[in-house]
C-alpha cells in the first residue's frame, strides 16, 4: 500500500526523529509513504478568517498533488494535519474559499476537497488496524507506563478533524496498548501545553507544560508521547525535564524492532 506523504518543514529539521522513525516503521509494516514531489510549508496555523485565501494555498497545492496521483494524503506533524485537514474541509464546504482558491491556482481540474487526509495514527487504526499492528510487534514494551499527550490540534474542532472523541480520546492509548505497554490516562492530555506562546510569553508556556507533566507523573506515567514538534519542544525544553518525552513514532520503531536494526 502506498500513500502520498506530507512531511512538513519541521520534520526535515528539528523534528527529524518524528519523520525518520515514522517512515521506517511504516516500511516495516509494508506501507510506503511517498513524499509529495513538491510541497511547501503549510504555515503551521490554520488561518481562521474567511478572507484569508493566500495563506491556505500551500495546503491546497499539497491536496491537489495527492489527488493527481490518485492517493490519500498522510500527515504526521499534528500542526500540518490540523491545517491541511481544515483547509480541505474549506475546499469541500465553503464556496467562497473554494472559488477564490481555484481562481487563483487555475488548475486544469478545479479542486473541491476530493483528497482524503489521514493522520499517521489514523492509518494505524483504520487502515492497518491495531490488532494487526500488535501481531507485528517484535519487542513488546512490557511494563512501561506511558502517557499519551494529545494536545489540541489533532482533536479540535472535532467536527472538522473527526479524529477521535475530543474529550475522551482513545486512539493513542490503544496504540500504546498495541505495543505492549500500559497507557496512563490523565486529565491534561487533551489540554493545551501553551507551546504557541513560547516566543511571546515563555514563562506562561513553561507553566502550562509543567501542569501537563505534573498531572501525567502524578497519575503514574513514566514517559510521555506526542505527535507535535511544538509540544515536544515545550514539554521537553520548557517543562523542566520532569518526564522523558518521545515522538510516538520512535516508540513504534522500538516496538517493531526497527530502531535497533538501524542503530
Amino acid at each position: 500500500m502506498t500513500y502520498s506523504y506530507f512531511p512538513g518543514c519541521t520534520l526535515k529539521t528539528k523534528g527529524k526523529d518524528l519523520d525518520i522513525w515514522g517512515r521506517a516503521s511504516m516500511e516495516a509494516l509494508g506501507v510506503t509513504l511517498e513524499e509529495l514531489p513538491q510541497w511547501q510549508c503549510c504555515g503551521a496555523v490554520y488561518p481562521q478568517a474567511k478572507d484569508e485565501i493566500a495563506t491556505k494555498l500551500s495546503s491546497v497545492r499539497a491536496l491537489v498533488s495527492a489527488r493527481d496521483q490518485g492517493r490519500d494524503l498522510v500527515t504526521l506533524c499534528s500542526a500540518c494535519h490540523h491545517v491541511i485537514k481544515r483547509v480541505n474541509c474549506d475546499m469541500a464546504q465553503d464556496e467562497y474559499i473554494r472559488t477564490r482558491a481555484n481562481n487563483y491556482l487555475q488548475l486544469e481540474t478545479p479542486y473541491a476537497g476530493e483528497t482524503k487526509v489521514l493522520h499517521y495514527l489514523e492509518v494505524l487504526r483504520d487502515e492497518i488496524g491495531f490488532d494487526k499492528l500488535k501481531e507485528q510487534v517484535k519487542r513488546p514494551l512490557a511494563g512501561r507506563k506511558i502517557g499519551a499527550y494529545y494536545g489540541c490540534l489533532l482533536l479540535r474542532p472535532s467536527k472538522e478533524l473527526k479524529f477521535d472523541d475530543p474529550e475522551n480520546p482513545t486512539i493513542m492509548e490503544d496504540f500504546i496498548r498495541a505495543l505492549g505497554a500500559e497507557p496512563v490516562v490523565y486529565a491534561m492530555r487533551n489540554e493545551c501545553c501553551g507551546g504557541y506562546t513560547t516566543l511571546e510569553n515563555k514563562p506562561y508556556a513553561a507553566k502550562q507544560a509543567g501542569k501537563v507533566l505534573d498531572n501525567a507523573a502524578n497519575c503514574g506515567a513514566a514517559e510521555i508521547i506526542t505527535a507535535c514538534p511544538l509540544c515536544m519542544y515545550n514539554l521537553k525544553e520548557n517543562g523542566g525535564g520532569r518526564l522523558p518525552v518521545k515522538y510516538f513514532t520512535e516508540l513504534l520503531a522500538e516496538a517493531l524492532g526497527v530502531k535497533e536494526a538501524e542503530a
Binding site: 518543514c9 519541521t10 478568517a49 478572507d51 475530543p166 525544553e237
Partner: protein, 126 residues
Amino acid sequence: MSDMTEIVKRISGVNPRKCMKCGKCSAACPAYDEMDYHPHQFVDMVENGRLEELMDSKGIYMCLSCFACLERCPRSVEPAKLIEAVRLAVVRQQDKNHLKPEQIPGLLDAELPQQAITSAFRKYRK
C-alpha cells in the same frame, strides 16, 4: 469603529448574538489568567461595538489557538474565530505587526522548531 465591527463579524463568521452568556468558553480557556478580556467578553464586547478596547488588549496575543472555547461552546459561537479576527484587524494595519523579523534572532535557541517561528509570523504579522 462600527464598520470595523462589521468586518470583524464578517471575516470571523461569528454571530455574537447566538451567545447565551454561560461562560463555558472562558472556563475552558487555558490562557484565562493571561488575558485582560476573556473569551466570553470578546463575544459580548463585539456585540456591543466595543472593538477599540479589544484591539488594544493583550489578550489577542495570548490566545493559544487551542480551540477549547470553540469545541466546548454549547451554542457554536466559536469565540476563537472572533479573537483571531480582532487580532487581524490590528496587525493588518500599517506598522502594526506584533512581531518583526529583526526580533527573531534574539528569540531563537538550538532546539526551537521551525513551527514556532512560522506560526508566530503567521499569527502576529501581515
